[in-house]
């Protein structure tokens, strides 16, 4: 099964109504089942450089490794290591650029990644860009923000309701390019046909309530390119204060890695 026959992928990015330029970056590669979304920060246009470096380096790194052949999955750890290494490499590149060029000083970026392989989605993230999943028409957030707001809630300092009016929504506690090493959250989920995965920058989820994100995904699940456009539109209709990026992946069919005769025979008789 070729991945591009099993997955429908669409993405959109927009500066929003208030910002003059877009510091988000998104890349999607149907052949390797990889989607990377990054939200840059810091300095005049430097955020754009940081997010662009993140998506490009992570994308290229993984494509190269897949081209060389990463071999069969040695258990569930292979994809986790691949993503962790790629994020680490991007982090170091951004860190060095930020520390060697004055115009890039202080730049950094969030990142959220999905890698679809062998009926498993591997999810990695740093910062407050998110991954949601719609399954059986129910929306679920699969990432936990690395933000001061999230920490305050976890520490019980404020309620989840207060979070809506907090001044701290945009203070991230982890980002690529700030330190030489980076702690990445990675998790794996078994995917199911019908699932829709949604990566987004906070320009979406700060502007559009989760209930309305769910409503859009349920109403437009038959048209993924329209879905991403509609979500950007909704964020802008609600004010469009920040750059808005979204990428959606719909799992149309299972995508087992091995499709040889024996594995087909075994799965048919399992």
């Amino acid at each position: 099964m070729k991945l591009k026959h099993a997955l429908t992928i669409a993405s959109a990015t927009d500066a929003g109504l208030v910002r003059n330029f877009n510091e988000d970056s998104v890349t999607a590669d149907e052949d390797s089942g990889l989607v990377v979304l990054a939200d840059g920060m810091g300095g005049y246009k430097a955020g754009d450089v940081a997010s662009g470096m993140a998506t490009m380096i992570i994308g290229n790194e993984l494509k190269e490794k897949f081209a060389k052949g990463v071999g069969k999955s040695n258990g569930v750890d292979l994809e986790t290591e691949l993503l962790r290494d790629a994020v680490s490499r991007a982090n170091q590149a951004i860190y060095h650029a930020a520390h060697n060029k004055t115009q890039f000083q202080g730049m950094g970026t969030t990142v959220v990644i999905t890698l679809f392989r062998d009926n498993i989605v591997t999810i990695a993230h740093v910062g407050d860009s998110r991954l949601y999943r719609l399954r059986n028409d129910k929306l679920e957030q699969l990432t936990v923000d690395h933000s001061l707001l999230q920490e305050q809630v976890q520490l019980g300092l404020i309620s989840t309701e207060d979070a809506r009016v907090s001044h701290n929504r945009n203070l991230v506690t982890r980002a690529l390019g700030v330190n030489q090493t980076i702690a990445v959250d990675v998790r794996q989920e078994r995917s199911q046909p019908g699932d829709i995965y949604l990566l987004c920058s906070d320009g979406l989820n700060d502007m559009v309530d989760d209930a309305d994100i769910e409503l859009a995904m349920v109403s437009i699940k038959e048209n993924i390119p329209l879905l991403v456009q509609q979500l950007v539109l909704m964020a802008n209709d609600n004010g469009g204060h920040d750059n808005i990026s979204v990428a959606a992946i719909k799992v149309e069919k299972p995508f087992p890695l091995r499709t040889g005769f024996f594995s087909r025979w075994f799965s048919a008789h399992a």
Binding site: V18, V144, T160, A163, S166, N170, A183
Partner: protein, 231 residues
């Protein structure tokens, strides 16, 4: 109540309370603030009040509108914002619109070095923590300044039924032949989602683009015939 303080060259000329839902500034005598200045368009800018929000909208003015020195077409005003219209300055004052929404992403300067957090800790902390909804309180609903819309089923599965178009999106049709009506600040729009047959409005297929709806438009989605109206 929110107010505007009009000044020219540092001298205050007047105070205006935003008592109306739509408050206009321009060269025309019918504007709520009339400014006789060649750099100001006839209808230069409006401020719409929706709940606690004041939304500034440049009406396609020749010289544009600046808020705090930045060109703007449309934005929600924050307490203390300075709007520039021609040579005049208009200060926006509202205790209900404190700039509590700082959307400039900033990296927190950590009290302790959080990035030294060990990988295992990161893994442990990841999946099991509570997720929170960050959508700002006043961005939860589409701000509309027109009456509520609804569709009435004429024939098909929705015959005799009325659906109020309250939410941002209302889905119509069924799997394989579907459309949405979206509620937007400028009005209602119908958009084709899936199926060979595109929705039909007043006898004409709408194609792939969102199509603005007018009161009493006749809609066809799949086998359902509906009428759109504003309540």
């Amino acid at each position: 109540m929110a107010k505007l303080v009009l000044s020219l060259n540092g001298s205050v000329i007047g105070n205006y309370f935003l008592e109306k839902e739509r408050f206009s500034i321009g060269r025309k005598p019918t504007c709520d603030i009339q400014i006789n200045d060649q750099g100001v368009s006839k209808e230069h800018v409006v401020i719409l009040t929706v709940g606690n929000d004041q939304i500034l909208e440049d009406l396609g003015s020749t010289n544009g509108t600046q808020v705090n020195g930045q060109d703007t077409k449309r934005q929600i005003l924050q307490n203390g914002d300075v709007i520039e219209v021609g040579r005049y300055r208009v200060k926006f004052v509202s205790q209900k619109a404190m700039p509590d929404m700082d959307f400039d992403k900033t990296l927190m300067i950590p009290a302790f070095d959080r990035t030294k957090l060990r990988q295992e800790e990161a893994d442990k902390r990841g999946p099991d923590t509570e997720s929170i909804s960050t959508a700002v309180a006043n961005a939860r609903n589409v701000k509309t300044i027109f009456p509520l819309g609804a569709v009435h089923g004429i024939s098909g599965e929705l015959a005799g039924q009325e659906i109020e178009l309250v939410r941002a999106i209302t889905a119509l049709g069924k799997p394989g032949s579907s459309a949405i009506i979206s509620r937007r600040p400028a009005g209602y729009f119908i958009t084709h989602v899936a199926g060979k047959k595109h929705p039909i409005v007043n006898g004409k297929s709408i194609g792939d683009s969102p199509f603005p709806l007018d009161n009493l438009d006749q809609l066809e989605v799949g086998l359902d015939k509906l009428q759109f109206y504003l309540k």
